[in-house]
Amino acid sequence: MGTGGIAAGGSEVMDSFKKQLRSKGIKADIKKHCSIHRVGCRGLCAKDVLVDIILNNVKTTYQFIKPYMVKRIIEDHILNGNPVEEWAVTEDYHQFLNKQIKVVLSDCGNIDPEDIDSYLNVGGYDALKQVVSTMSPKDTIEIIKKSGLRGRGGAGFPTGLKWEICSKETSSQKYIICNADEGDPGAFMDRSVIEGNPHAVIEGMIIGAYSVGADKGYVYIRAEYPLAVERLKKALNQARQNKFLGKNILGKKFDFDIKIKLGAGAFVCGEETGLIASIEGQRGMPRAKPPFPVYKGLWGKPTVINNVETLANVPYIIRNGAEWYSSFGTEKSKGTKVFALTGKIKNSGLIEVPMGIPLREIIYDIGGGIENNRAFKAVQTGGPSGGCIPADLLDIKVDYESLAQVGSIVGSGGMVVLDENDCMVNIAKFFLQFTQAESCGKCIPCRIGTKRLLEILERITGGKGREGDIELLEDLANDVKATSLCGLGQTAPNPILSTIRYFRDEYEAHITKKKCPAGVCKDLLSYIIIAELCKGCGACKRVCPSGAVSGEKKKVHKIDPDLCVKCGACFEACKFKSIGKG
């Protein structure tokens, strides 16, 4: 039960199980006989609520479970041993899992995130015990270096190297910060990891602190993730009770504790110097680097900042060894990466794959292809700092280097799939609206540059595009990239540049023909009813928010262009494809 499962009714289903099991006289809370567990997100959010029944060591997984279905599952399956076949997961559930390799997510969805014993039972905190009792900080860093782990927040800086630099700084005070300010729209792996396995992140942080010599840690987490915050708080308390945090950890001369800092809603605070300013209680404006935070970070002291997913990898690397981890992935991008696969895809959810997997396998094998069997157009990776990858590049490998080569980035791991009904100019405009609003305003190229870029895009999508606008966009985009102070401005133009690179014809259609080929840009389209196809079912009339559709039952309907607000509701409601875009 992550945020997704709860929204789909996970709590209600669980309550229903508890209630009905009790009424049947089965003691659900006694672990020896039968137990109910709450687990974190297990990835396939599209099929929520998922329920596992483990009977005599045989696991059956059910999908789309609603409270009313609980009774039959209990009676047929649990009491009489006959699984309810028609509700069980189908082939595509297994296909979704087949090509995945789970490291960070290996325990997510299996353990109870609110119970430390559940994590301890699967080897949790063994890595920490091993590190503090048998290894020096230097050995620990060496393992992380050898594993090839790179920062999973976006930039991909080698984690071991970062720790090493910080460990060599001499200072009476050092900090380690976990960056859980997952601001990229379309990414939710950090939320899911904290909701599903908070102790792995905490354990990774403690090992990091031991390695670099930090005695204070902060988790900077978005306030928009209330469930993650709550579970993290619980987990921290449990870790303290078990002496994994606090003074003399595990009886050794090693003190470390972690505080939670709630973000206040600013995307730029994901940038490390902005994040530091925010923890210090100031406006979260980035500053020039160098000096890098490993030398001068929080309150001017050496500070390591790692992303949630990066830290959650650490305990598994220590437990299984550097060779094991680096056996996954490619030469330069080792290990696995978690992606949030969303948009117009059948199996949307959270996936973990080895670096270097072909994009096509993610989209078609794991993702199950495009929703409603429409044509694939592009996949947007890396959020507002990333780019789009078109259909003819589907065979590229997904790793840091390959994606950079085609003008995109791995980023934090968002993958939004777009189909033929998505307008690429509109997508570029969407991201620029975002970066422009989130620009902190400190440096001029970003503050004014993104504004001007957005204005040009608005002009183009509004039907007022001019000859030369594409070249102007390219020019300005490159200037903003080259001269902005921080990562936000340096990458903000990427969505524009990559959509121009692969979908220039769409820009041209907007500017010269004043048409939006995908039929998205409102000012460039009108909705009409194709008389030959209309059955007069009235579906469009019912959904129209502005009363623009008229017509009698079973007769051809009409749209009044003066009343139409071009929302597209009728287009989606029509089952006979009789709404056309003109």
Partner: protein, 156 residues
């Protein structure tokens, strides 16, 4: 108000003197950041009010005006965007009869807000009504929910 502020002052002293945490506490107490509260702390802590306002206006989370009884938050992340969140937003503006740029209805029953991403992208589009996440929202269902809330108010 004075009493509450005194209490917050004590928390502030214990909390490494962090202005952002202080403002978060103020907002938790009052539902928004009242100007009087800022001025009170400005005098008490000898920090210019401009520094407070600089922070308040920097972060999206802070509100300088009172908000409605019901808070509706539309997610405008990428996945929600391609799944039609803009249409939901336009529908809400119309249903709540919000004038240009307003976010709270004149009777202070409803506040409509946007959020960049709530990280529930696989169940997009997402709308949060009074802290409860609604997934795969359609314009139809959403308006029904809003009307239910409106009827509740009328009953009272």
């Amino acid at each position: 108000m004075e009493k509450t502020l005194e209490k917050l002052y004590v928390d502030y002293e214990n909390n490494e003197g962090n202005i952002i945490s202080l403002l978060q506490d103020i907002q938790n107490e009052f539902g928004y950041i009242p100007e009087d509260a800022v001025n009170w702390f400005s005098v008490k802590l000898d920090i210019p009010a401009s520094r407070f306002f600089g922070i308040v206006t920097f972060y999206a989370q802070f509100h300088l005006a009172p908000r409605g009884k019901n808070i509706i938050t539309t997610c405008c992340g990428t996945a929600c965007h391609v799944k039609g969140s803009e249409r939901l937003l336009n529908g809400l503006v119309k249903e709540l009869n919000l004038q240009d740029g307003e976010s709270t209805t004149s009777d202070r029953e409803f506040t409509l807000e946007k959020v960049n991403c709530v990280g529930a992208c696989s169940i997009a589009p997402v709308v949060i009504i009074n802290k409860k996440i609604h997934s795969k929202v359609s314009a139809d269902n959403l308006m029904k929910e809003i009307r239910k809330l409106k009827d509740k108010e009328v009953e009272k």
